[in-house]
């Protein structure tokens, strides 16, 4: 009831306030945001909100148009510049902004558009990878799996494709292919990225996972964390981190980076909470997720892996 009433008030008063501010400051809302808010997540989130609430027909069609591009994954490095220019021109024309008087506006607004729709495209991209199931007949998938082994266990050659050795890196059975259910190839790509980009962190985490008391299944936890990262991405909580960390268009790399951070932090969290056995995983994971969500609620958050492996 209250929510309904509040939205009604907003619906009528927002335009009035905007009109007042527009005439006192001689700037539109987007300009005020771009000049007033800090670069990164605060500005981008505010621009996103402002565009979403806009009732201007031109801006509405622009949003639909950009959404279509992102959903079809059509924003690439080649098309990016053209799309951005179109978006900026549309805004300048509808809001009657003089580009020579406000040269900074076009630049910072362009960056916001890039981040907002890059994020949207990233969601689509991750979803696509998640839906691709691991296929044992696909040589690319097989090679990726073997790469993961070689990265994590460089000194121990794999005896066969189906072997108990997979359990050393925390798969459930003799054949890892069944463990990628749910997260598909995205789970594998995440693991490979982690092992490839942060070899010292990955081996450190792997050695923790074989701890006699606080051990856990490395790969299975990794796949569960992929699911968690994807959850954060889908419900928009990860926006703060992605908007803050990306200099330009966010790609799948940004998601991998987020994943690596989560995995490394989770490992520390798990060891610190001293679980009595693996059965406590779901409760600890829930706690961990809550703490991450708390951190993401602060719009200045940006996650960076701080590797302190050498002194362990």
């Amino acid at each position: 009831m209250f929510v309904y009433f509040w939205s009604l008030v907003c619906w009528y008063f927002r335009p009035i306030i905007k009109w007042l501010l527009r005439h006192t400051t001689r700037m539109c809302e987007l300009q005020r945001i771009c000049y007033g808010e800090l670069c990164g997540a605060p500005r981008t989130l505010a621009v996103e909100e402002s565009l979403k609430l806009s009732r201007n027909a031109n801006i509405k069609t622009l949003i639909v148009y950009l959404n279509d591009f992102a959903d079809q994954r059509a924003i690439t490095n080649q098309t990016k510049q053209k799309i951005l220019e179109e978006a900026i021109v549309t805004i300048l024309v509808t809001k009657k902004i003089n580009p020579t008087a406000h040269p900074d506006f076009a630049k910072s607004f362009g960056k916001c558009v890039e981040l907002i729709w890059g994020y949207r495209q990233l969601c689509v991209e991750c979803e696509e990878l998640r839906k691709t199931p691991y296929d044992a007949d696909n040589p690319e998938h097989e090679l990726l799996l073997l790469k993961l082994w070689n990265l994590l266990m460089p000194y121990e050659p794999l005896d066969a494709r189906v072997t108990k050795q997979w359990q050393h890196i925390g798969f459930q059975g003799d054949d890892p292919k069944t463990d990628f259910r749910g997260m598909g190839i995205l789970g594998l790509e995440n693991l490979v990225y982690f092992a490839q980009e942060y070899p010292s962190a990955a081996t450190h985490v792997l050695s923790h996972s074989t701890h006699p008391r606080y051990g856990y299944a490395f790969a299975i936890v990794g796949i569960n964390l992929t699911s968690m990262a994807l959850r954060l991405l889908r419900d928009g909580s990860a926006k703060t981190h992605i908007y803050n960390s990306s200099k330009s268009f966010p790609t799948i790399r940004a998601f991998h980076q987020l994943y690596c951070y989560l995995f490394y932090e989770f490992d520390g969290f798990w060891i610190d909470s001293k679980p009595s056995n693996m059965m406590e995983f779901s409760s600890i994971q829930e706690k961990f997720e809550n703490s991450i969500r708390m951190a993401l609620a602060d719009s200045s958050t940006v996650f960076r892996i701080n590797i302190s492996v050498d002194n362990v």
Binding site: Q167, G173, M279
Partner: protein
Amino acid sequence: MGNCIRSMLQRLQKKKCSEKTIILLIVGLDNAGKTSVLNCISGDSNKTTLPTMGFHVVSLKYKSYTVKIYDIGGSSQIRSLWPKYYNGIHGLIYVVDASDISRLTENKVVFGELISHEYISGKPLLLLANKQDINEAIDELDLVENLDIEHAANTMKCPTRVEICSCTWKEDQSKDNTIGIKNGYKWLLDIIVKNYTALNNKVKIQNVQGERNIEVQSIALDSPSKLSIHSNPFKPIKELVLKKESTHTPSVSQNGIVTNGKKLKKMFTCRNKTAPLTTEESVIEINDTSQSVKFTPKALELQKNIQTLPPILNPIALDTDSHNIAIRLKSNRPYTAPERSQRFTNKITVINIPGQVA
């Protein structure tokens, strides 16, 4: 007015207190489809499933009962932790990936260990042959033969039912696949509800026992001297209370069983797809179930020895050599088992070829 409200509140509270809970456990090898089965039972079959690390709990309602279902991960690392959950449960669901023939021997070993646990005996068991949507999947009769379920269920006096099912839902096959899960689940809950008092008392005793075991262990670990805890006159009051409870409850449980005994027996002989034998072996007194708490694996072994051919029951050869199983099956084939024909011999070869891979 105040009195009225108070009485209402009291009544509500009483209702809350008398609310009964049923605890079920889902186990099985990894990738058997335990989480999918649970999703199917709880009604959201579209959820994506991940390999379960640790366990999930889902609470559901059935008639006036609260049903709690524990879904435990099936990876070999977690399997050693399963027995910790056996004491608190009323019933068990065992899920088998019926399409993966190469893991039937592993299933047989795991299932054998599971069912011979002292806390499992007498509790109802639902076996699901999952993934029937895949062409190579074996049906329930083959499963019963391969896992030697008849024998295990008979010796442990577990009311057992086997269902075929599948959790994936394709348009062309309509909804029929999940019906096995629903029927089996309903059967399991019905049989628990019918014998609720007996089962619940058993669970309570086992819980107390389990706790005491842990306590004894911790005391034994903590005490530096080798003094036996029985000679110690100073016991924590909690332990005394527990002891009193445990001495008190058996009488009730026996009463419960006496009244429910006939029903239980009827269940055994008629309703199950894999009913225990009607030969002299199944004429074990149902009363025994109340004392089954005291069963130890050794006692079981003894019982087995008496009942079946003694020389073949070599525990090492039990699970590995399928020829021995064939001979052992001959000794006590129940009336519900499929006729022994070429099919049976076929099955043995099926076990042999992929089973030896591991």
